[in-house]
Symmetry: C2
Subunit: 190 residues, 2 copies
DNA sequence: GCCTGTCATTAACAATTGTAAAGAAAACAT
DNA sequence: ATGTTTTCTTTACAATTGTTAATGACAGGC
């Protein structure tokens, strides 16, 4: 249940057995079907998720349409980050793409644990740093690369997701229309 | 000298007088003319900057051309973040846009101070979280908005920079060509 | 089995953008 | 003051993208 969780956190910090125990205790396991909303736009995200199995996407809503901002894979923390951190109303929705197994933790419990396990500050810092670096790479690809290049990069690094995620979701993640993605894919085959 | 620095850090943590003293001690003040490279592509960034005065931009190089990834304003930490954090070779260059007054700190000294002042972990975490949220807003604007909408957003929030930063730099920050920016601006006047 | 909803592709047209090149204006240095 | 560099705009053309709509494939629910 916590194998992947332990492996992920141990990249960043080492906890004593009792600390690790206390940390894992605030997470509950939850099985969730595909297309379930985990966090809703307009509400405060008070849960943090670690994905044991499945895929989750984060999207924005604008004029009735959904725009995917990120796709979370297995063995990553997923959340509407700023809403969770600042406990403010979220402008993003978190929704499962596949059936998922999630480890779920409440904001308040995590907050209380920071005092008991100071090393969690380091973990939180490293996770935030990692997410920032990942976000920066995405920004650089928008600034540096054409839609076609962004698709090729996605193909190389997350090619397996092409079989697991509807293409219109990938298209909006790449910042283009589904039609354009289809055209780019057609060009590549030749 | 450290007024803005104190104000910025006090948003996140409160240090004792001696801690604050020790923290500020690892920063040196440096006056730098415009168009000075602070961090070079291919080298490891071992300095972190706090901008007292002036503007700094971060850019990538691709096929002899420069693509701006971020523009740092006064009273912000600026750095080639991942290179500084991981002490790896950087793919980005940091360069002043205007004459700048900077507070400069070495990676090693900061690293040593983490042990003496554990609250710095919290500060580093909050700074990373803030930068991540800022990065996420930029990503969402690439996914949600047209180049024209991105320009209008930039105008509303950083309109003063239009007078301080060459437009071709702003254009590449917005992910478009200078020609396209000029066309968008022309449309807006009417 | 059938129906419905979801999804991917294609076509046609309009709109936008990128590229290359040229010119004018402003800033800078000598 | 002069010449050089930098910056911004404009033009013309090619390429790409967005939009709308139609089609066919596919899976899930009843």
């Amino acid at each position: 249940m916590f194998e992947a969780f332990r492996q992920y956190t141990s990249q960043f910090i080492t906890l004593s057995v009792s600390e690790q125990q206390g940390f894992e205790n605030i997470f509950a396991c939850r099985q969730v079907p595909a297309k379930t909303k985990l966090t809703r736009e307009g509400q405060t995200a008070n849960e943090l998720f670690f994905i044991n199995k499945g895929l989750v996407r984060l999207y924005y809503t604008k004029e009735e349409k959904e725009y995917t901002g990120f796709i979370f894979r297995e063995h990553l923390f997923a959340s509407s980050y700023e809403s969770f951190l600042q406990q403010t109303s979220s402008i993003q929705t978190l929704e499962t793409i596949e059936d998922c197994e999630l480890l779920v933790c409440q904001h308040q419990q995590l907050q209380q644990l920071y005092d008991k396990i100071p090393a969690l500050h380091i973990l939180a810092r490293k996770v935030a740093e990692q997410r920032f670096m990942s976000a920066q790479m995405i920004i650089s690809s928008f600034v540096l690369d054409s839609p076609e290049e962004r698709y090729l990069y996605f193909l190389r690094h997350h090619g397996d997701l092409l079989l697991r995620v509807p293409h219109h979701i990938i298209a909006s993640y790449l910042g283009i229309s589904p039609v354009s993605l289809s055209r780019i894919r057609k060009r590549q085959i030749k």
